[in-house]
């Protein structure tokens, strides 16, 4: 029954035609598929239930099989196709992975597919036939299948889930708690039973069909150095920043690492001048393969602080600065910002008509564009304060100003271009003479002229700088303003007299607003953050002390509980399903199903917050709820550790839990670098080619390590005979590989210390700066002393490796691979992730 579906439907379907790649991938699959088919792919009842999909799938199956006949191709050759020498190596790899039986049975049990992983010898000819991901247009390595049975490559799915934090299907936006990462492109989501799943990641909502898939996925989430030939994975963003600065003498853009939704290794490394260019005008290189379309990080003209993008700048301005709603209206919705409330108040007083009634002043925004509007307001709202005569007076309309006011009113009620046009049109016959500039002008006119002057003075500024066009004149010609400037909220630079003028004036009177405008933190509204959270945020390192301080505000547990739930609800924007998940996490932590570290990790994914500080209060309050002292302590410890590693950077989700599984190693990192970025990093592809075949399958047992060593005998030799200096030093990959080894070990030590607790972790990160001393020693003539540091720790396993393969000597590049492999092993065991 199972098999009938697949081959019975030979004609290709249009939609699938474009995937076109079945042949080779299918081959790989076809072989592995024995198991899958046996389990009843394409059963009849399925065919009935979903004819369309079933059909499609059958087809795929058919094609997959055809591929098998053609000899197939392992995904391992993804990076190799332009590297003719690789097939040789791959053959070796095949042989060896067959020798390494330790992982095969387990995987066979779980999937029946993975067992064949990597055994296919690649056919270097078939690059044009690869399967392309619909979303990213890159070749598919693993498939991600959602319950709606839409497929993407695993990288896109992971990007959505881990970086964009959405569980929606990229095709149909259906939310799915889990997707399956698999090598099998033809099996429907519902056909997977729990026995097909080798591992599940609760926080990201990913089920892995095999350990290999899991390892290859988690490796993406580590803090891999973006340098193409560097296989170092760091502990967190701060650590990575230090690493690239010290080891590569390059920097990462801080804003990009915080906000850019890319995997760590996809970030760009800059020299300092490059970074400045990147921030100011972007590093886009139109016409090249790696053009980004990026035009720089916009700067707030008040604070001189850059923000990741327009949205972030807009949020900052919304939170830290004040807008004049009247000017906004006048300028057709373009925002007009003032440094703070004081500046805005002055602007209101001088340029608009403010109601001076005490109550209205209290309300702050009782301001009018025209005197008439103000009078109407006064007559309506505050008649009691006026004598009869005055009231009558108020009702009088000053006709002399009416012509303009009328035109004005027309402008402010109808929006945008049309409104302005209309106004101009009307003004022409009605008021042929523009109001003389020296005559008595209304306030808004004065304001207009003033800003006009400011503007002309600033027209010389390049359009991307924030000129001081805070008050856009009401009637500039509707000619489109320079696009970038228009796209960003208008800002007032410091040279502009008006808004900056008043900043300190009444600071005491409005302390909260003043404080707000200074604060650069993504804001928790004051109402949400009771006073206690403030110290927690400002002094993350000393937070342990804070935590242990007795809580004095809510006394009963019930109250505390309510408080936690309330805060969580706010952080989740009232999403009740997420709140349920939140509660579920807590109870699984409470019942020991989840470690404290995983809990924090899960929270990080669940709460879509930018910085750790936003979670701090929640976690502190939550910790107070645990009755067992042990639970409380462990949660706080994990939290502190997490914070000390990440400081205030948003960490990659899934990372800490990946530590254990980070059997994926440096070489795999290099491979993924080329896999996600293949066309850019031609230099890396030979590496990945070798790598893909040499890396152990199955994620991290010692047997694998030895297997890895055997594949590349040269490596084993180098590792074992530390003192021996192979002749081939000097090439840059060499150097980097070696360097990695060196720094790797000291780093690993630091990582070990980090484990001890938060304070230790802080100390260890403080020690990181000492790292740069090491590399120069190794870099020029790499081999000499390279092995000394790791020797004691690694002697044993490396010795084993060398024992198995020491006699042979590989070509130099193989040896390099070996070194990388070794670096990887190290990371694996010490668990850097």
């Amino acid at each position: 029954m199972a098999d009938q579906a697949a081959p019975s439907n030979p004609e290709p379907r249009g939609e699938r035609g474009e995937r076109g790649t079945r042949g080779d991938r299918g081959g790989y699959r076809g072989r592995g598929r024995g198991g899958g088919n046996r389990r009843g792919r394409g059963g009849n009842e399925n065919a009935n239930s979903g004819p369309e999909q079933r059909n499609e799938r059958s087809n795929r199956g058919g094609r997959g099989r055809g591929g098998a006949a053609r000899g197939g191709q392992s995904r391992g050759d993804r990076g190799n196709h332009h590297q003719p020498t690789v097939s040789q190596i791959d053959v070796t790899a095949t042989a060896i992975s067959t020798d390494a039986p330790s992982d095969a049975p387990a995987e066979q049990n779980s999937t029946g597919i993975i067992a064949n992983d990597g055994k296919e010898p690649p056919s270097p000819t078939s690059t044009d036939n690869e399967e392309i991901c619909f979303i990213c247009a890159n070749p598919v390595q693993y498939h991600s299948i959602a319950p709606c049975n839409h497929m993407t490559c695993h990288i896109c799915a992971l990007r959505m889930r881990a970086l964009y934090k959405t569980k929606q299907c990229p095709h149909c936006r259906t939310n799915s708690d889990y997707v399956i990462f698999t090598t099998n492109a033809t099996k429907a989501f519902e056909e997977y039973s729990s026995s097909d799943i080798a591992a599940t990641d609760e926080t990201l909502g990913i089920k892995y069909e095999g350990k290999q898939v899991r390892a290859d996925t988690l490796v993406l989430l580590r803090y891999n150095c973006p340098e193409p030939n560097c296989d170092v994975a760091c502990l967190g963003w701060p650590d990575l920043h230090r690493h690239v600065r010290n080891t590569h003498k390059l920097v990462l853009c801080d804003l990009c690492t915080r906000f850019k939704k890319v995997f760590t290794h996809e970030h760009t490394l800059f020299t300092y001048p490059e970074l400045r260019k990147h921030e100011r005008q972007g590093d886009d290189v139109p016409g090249t393969e790696d053009q980004s379309g990026f035009k720089g990080h916009p700067e707030c003209g008040f604070c001189h602080k850059r923000f990741y993008g327009d949205d972030e700048l807009y949020n900052h301005c919304k939170e830290a600065h004040e807008r004049c709603f009247i000017c906004d209206r006048e300028s057709g919705g373009r925002p007009n910002y003032f440094l703070n409330w004081e500046a805005l108040e002055v602007h209101f007083k001088e340029d608009h008509y403010r109601c001076t009634d005490a109550e209205c002043l209290e309300k702050k925004f009782i301001v009018f564009a025209s005197e008439m509007d103000l009078k109407a307001h006064v007559v309506e709202e505050h008649p009691q304060g006026l004598s009869k005569g005055a009231l009558k007076d108020m009702r009088k309309v000053d006709m002399s100003a009416f012509g303009n006011t009328h035109a004005h009113g027309g402008g402010s009620t109808s929006r945008g271009r049309g409104g302005r046009m209309q106004r101009d049109y009307r003004r022409d016959p009605q008021a042929p003479e523009p109001p003389p500039p020296d005559g008595p002008m209304r306030r808004d006119e004065i304001a207009y002229h003033r800003t006009l002057a400011v503007q002309t003075a600033q027209n010389t500024l390049p359009p991307r700088m924030f000129g001081g066009q805070l008050t856009r004149p009401p009637q500039p010609p509707p000619a489109p303003a320079p696009a970038p400037a228009a796209a960003r909220p208008a800002q007032t630079g410091p040279p502009v007299s008006q808004p900056v003028r008043a900043p300190a004036r009444q600071e005491e009177a409005f302390p909260p607003l003043g404080a707000l405008s200074i604060s650069s933190q993504p804001v928790q509204a004051p109402a949400q953050a009771p006073a206690r959270s403030a110290p927690a945020r400002s002094a993350p390192v000393t937070q342990a002390a804070q935590f242990s301080a007795p809580a004095n505000i809510p006394t009963s547990t019930a109250q505390k509980h309510e408080q936690v739930v309330g805060r969580a609800t706010r952080l989740l924007n009232g999403d009740s399903s997420k709140l349920e998940t939140f509660k579920k996490y807590i109870s699984s932590y409470n019942s020991d199903q989840m470690s404290a570290r995983d809990l924090i990790e899960a929270f990080w994914v669940l709460f879509n917050v930018q910085v750790a500080a936003d979670l701090a209060t929640l976690l502190r309050e939550l910790s107070e709820l645990f009755e067992k002292e042990e639970k409380r302590r462990r949660l706080l410890e994990a939290w502190n550790e997490w914070k000390s590693v990440n400081e205030d950077y948003p960490p990659m989700p899934g990372n800490s839990s990946g530590a254990a599984a980070a059997g994926a190693g440096g070489a795999r990192v290099l491979k993924l670098k080329s896999a996600t970025n293949r066309n850019l990093r031609a230099g890396a592809s030979p590496w990945s080619a070798v790598t893909s075949s040499t890396i152990e399958r199955g994620g991290g047992s010692l047997a694998d390590i030895n297997g890895g060593g055997r594949i590349v005998p040269g490596a084993a030799v180098t590792v074992a005979g530390k003192g021996k200096a192979p002749v081939t030093g000097g090439s840059s990959p060499w150097a980097s590989a070696v360097r990695n080894t060196g720094s790797g070990s000291s780093r690993a030590a630091a990582a070990g210390r980090g484990k001890a607790g938060s304070s230790a972790a802080v100390v260890s990160s403080a020690e990181f700066p000492s790292l740069p001393k090491a590399p120069p020693k190794y870099a020029p003539v790499p081999r000499k002393n390279e092995g000394t540091a790791p020797a004691s720790v690694w002697g044993a396993s490396n010795g084993g490796a060398s024992g198995s393969g020491g006699g042979e000597s590989g070509p130099p590049d193989l040896m390099i691979m070996g070194v990388k492999g070794k670096g990887k092993k190290k990371q694996q065991i010490i668990s850097w992730g």
Binding site: C136, Q291, S292, R417, A486
Partner: protein, 152 residues
């Protein structure tokens, strides 16, 4: 990044399979993030005979973030903001309803469709939308006039 690859692919697909009434190409050679789009006013609509130019801007995070469409030709339309940006408001272009699987050609098709049939339920210019609903004649008159004035 994946964006360039996908965009290049879409550009190739679009040139092989153009959408009727739409022509599009890169605004400047080599920069795949900016497209120039020309819509011809569909027959039977008040925009008939007009030629509308638009800028299509793709974000660096495309296809995970939606592109933006801006009319550089003034147009009297409920779904196009009546300001100097001329932003086109399309349901599928809102980031909360954008799907990474959505292609540029679909976006352009949708834009062309909106010229034929404005979507008043998703309007940016509510006053124009009201006019379109309540007094279609005066809407058509203005739209035609603007087309004559700006889109020739």
């Amino acid at each position: 990044m994946s964006a360039v690859k996908r965009i290049t692919k879409e550009l190739a697909e679009f040139s092989n399979n153009p959408v009727p009434g739409v022509s599009a190409g890169l605004a400047s050679e080599g920069d795949v993030f900016k497209w120039n789009v020309i819509l011809t006013g569909p027959q039977g609509s008040p925009y008939s005979g007009g030629v509308f130019t638009l800028n299509l801007t793709l974000p660096t995070e495309y296809p995970f973030k939606p592109p933006t469409l801006n009319f550089t030709t003034k147009i009297y339309h409920p779904n196009v903001s009546n300001d100097d940006k001329g932003s086109m408001c399309l349901g599928i272009l809102r980031s909360e309803s954008w799907k990474p699987s959505c292609k540029i050609s679909q976006v352009l098709e949708m834009a062309a469709g909106l010229l034929k049939e404005p979507n008043v339920d998703d309007a940016v210019e509510t006053s124009i939308a009201d006019e379109f609903k309540n007094s279609p004649d005066s809407f058509e008159k203005t739209a035609r006039e603007w087309t004559r004035k700006y889109a020739k």
